[in-house]
Symmetry: C2
Subunit: 442 residues, 2 copies
């Protein structure tokens, strides 16, 4: 038998994981999946970890666990710093991985439109660590407010500012409202958590731009019902510690500032000579290969593509999954064609990727969401139910589905999210603990 075709996939998100799964147990391929985290993360629910509705483990699953039946797939926990395009080799922090084909699926990260100094005053929301930090920050600010006697300080501590009125910003704002108005309402003795301010800033004239206008209007009304202050129009022109400055002169003083206004492709794309857009996304060929590098593919959020049907492929999970599977299909087709009389024309015969639009949706709060697909427009309770079921369906692993369903059922019935816990590292270790007998525990 011939040596298998070596595929290296960088990134275990929706695109990379779906590509690996499509190549699993096809022994013509030897697949190495490299990620710097040991888990696949279900990013669409990340905001629920940040707002203490779900625990981190419920939306993350070990990549090894997902792929343990795929005997031709190796998972490597490592950080890729460089692509040596010409040599067909990946150089990581701890090793080198030669490949025949390379799949880039490193996704996107929070972008500040060039104002990187804003990063240190705001929280992004792309990783588990990000979501844990936001949860810690908000719960801790409430604890500080409970201790504080300075009214001005209390006000600042009890304000969260969210920049960006896309789905992430809207979902965060709605979930914070839920947290303070339902979950925490009887928890504090000195502060009134219903004073908690949630300010959502969107520079355009409406929320959820990709949605229909009446959905934007519905979302705005529902958020205002939930007590969220929505500011439409002005843009943020400066960010200081605990303060957003808007270009209409207003200032928002808030202990917690969250940046949900922009993402850009992972900087790894800069290692390759190829056409890119302003956001660093690679302008790929219709087959998803990288121009000038026929054995390198890109999939997921780092792709800029208008498909043959004229659809701009969006930075959404369903698109990333489809692209991952498409790359696997192209790799298989390449191998097949190489055994036919079209062997020397296989590059021209590669199938083009077409985006199958599954629709878009965003959740606002209990019983309220918006959803639209080609034939269907939903809002309110039906959209909310659809949102729940679709997110459950796509969550990886039966175990996680059941755990999340349980958490949601509890929150719905009892208004009590479980994950209201944060852990303060013991910086204050005792200096000299006295000696002692052996420990015991029940």
């Amino acid at each position: 038998m011939k040596d298998p075709h070596r595929v290296v996939i960088i990134g275990g998100g929706f695109a990379g994981l779906n590509c690996a799964q499509s190549l699993a147990n096809d022994d013509r391929f030897e697949v190495t999946l490299i990620d710097r985290q040991n888990h696949h993360l279900f990013q669409p629910l990340l905001y629920q970890v940040a707002t203490a509705s779900l625990s981190a483990v419920e939306i993350a699953r070990s990549l090894r666990a997902i792929l343990d039946d795929a005997s031709n797939v190796s998972v490597i926990l490592d950080q890729v710093n460089q692509l040596a395009g010409a040599d067909n080799i990946i150089i990581t922090e701890h090793g080198e991985y030669p490949y025949d084909s390379l799949v880039l699926a490193t996704g996107a990260h929070t972008s500040y439109f060039g104002k990187d100094e804003w990063a240190k005053h705001t929280y992004g929301l792309k990783t588990l660590e990000d979501s844990r930090r936001i949860r810690h920050q908000v719960l801790n600010a409430l604890e500080q407010a409970e201790r504080s006697t300075d009214l001005e300080e209390r006000k600042r501590l009890m304000t969260v500012g969210i920049v960006g009125g896309g789905p992430t910003g809207v979902e965060l704002a709605g979930a914070f409202s839920d947290l303070v108005r339902r979950a925490l309402k009887s928890d504090y003795r000195r502060i009134d958590v219903s004073d908690f301010r949630i300010v959502l800033i969107q520079s355009g004239d409406r929320l959820l731009k990709p949605f229909a206008e009446d959905h934007s209007k519905y979302t705005l009304d529902r958020l205002r019902d939930l007590g969220v202050e929505v500011i439409l129009g002005p843009r943020v022109d400066d960010v200081k510690k605990g303060c957003l400055h808007l270009n209409d002169g207003r200032e928002i003083h808030a202990e917690t500032l969250i940046w949900a206004a922009g993402v850009a492709a992972s900087p790894l794309t800069e290692c390759l000579e190829c056409p890119r857009d302003r956001g660093g996304r690679i302008k790929v060929e219709p087959s998803l290969s990288v121009p000038g590098h026929p054995n390198v593919f890109a999939a997921g959020d780092l792709v800029n593509l208008t498909d043959p049907d004229g659809q701009v492929v969006p930075g959404l999970a369903p698109a990333a999954m489809q692209m991952g599977k498409h790359v696997a299909k192209v790799l298989k087709e390449d191998l097949r064609l190489k055994t036919t009389r079209y062997a020397d024309r296989y590059l021209d015969l590669r199938p083009a990727y077409r985006y199958r639009d599954k629709g878009i949706m965003a959740i606002i709060g209990k019983n309220a969401a918006v959803a639209q697909a080609k034939m269907l427009k939903l809002k309110g309770f039906p959209a909310w139910l659809a949102w729940l079921f679709i997110h459950l369906a796509f969550l990886v692993g039966f175990r996680n589905k059941l755990a999340v369903l349980l958490s949601w059922a509890f929150s719905y019935l009892f208004d009590k999210p479980a994950a209201r816990v944060f852990s303060i590292p013991e910086s204050d270790r005792p200096e000299k603990p006295p000696s002692s007998e052996p420990s015991s525990s029940p």
Copy 2:
């Protein structure tokens, strides 16, 4: 109405929480519970978080959530650094809390018998942060082993050394064996996880000293069946990075070293002038008040007491719960007596605390545990079942019980723990992310 009696409780563990709950909604009392974490932690299951069987949130619950119906109890997240005994005032990092009665329930921490320099090479297991660090360390060492080509290094990476053969050491050793021999067995491609070495070191001549001898023997046999190397006899006389030195000359090279050999009372007890034992535990009066300080009480792991029946009160969760409730009872009795003709003798009339022995138990692995109470001795499957039900019963909150039950059922049926996830902080932030359009998410 008279001003309520102000009770300050320091520590939200089993003792402090039970004391607060016993005083809840009794408006003769105004209770302030101070803890440096925002959660009550179910310590008996901490080892399962360390070994990736449970997630942190499943065994921790927000103190505010537990006490939200107790209108006379305030929870304060703060660090107590000092006790000004004479002035009846607590000075914390962020404030001052005057009291009429004070309850010390700050528990125990890992102790190294005076060799504090060993702390930096080993992990203790007392807090959520500790358990997360152990999980991260062990899973990350396996990832390094999978990448490594150096056989000697691999061997070291795939070894965990546990010092202390009490319940914590035994439970950790059994759970690590479960993790590598059942849960992870098909996860890696280059290393064989069945090579993973678990070394348990106990200086005495048997494991689980407080148990009957045949239970110790059974535990030893079962652990050896599970592939754990148990070393009985020698003691650790030096600890270096990645190496335990035993006093019979042996050296154990292990990437992960866990210290489960000793605890001592929290150092806060040193602020009070009162008799203490070698482990820093307060030698309390029979009523649990601190000698010389009739309005200060101690409860839980920082107490050294032989009760009127001659029983030494052990450092176990049931004892801590009983002591917390007993202190509340004494406080109520004090108030009652002060309204009678015995008012000036209330101190002499305080009821003594009596330890009600609920028995002891330890789990070894799937279907294997030991348990003994006054009338009953169990081992094997019945003990294992008893262990499961008792731990579920005492876990605080129906939500947590159900989540833990679900996790256990899954592990039992599918050998697949859910919590096999750790998160690597992004130290390697991209230097200059390109600017971009607004984000969107599904």
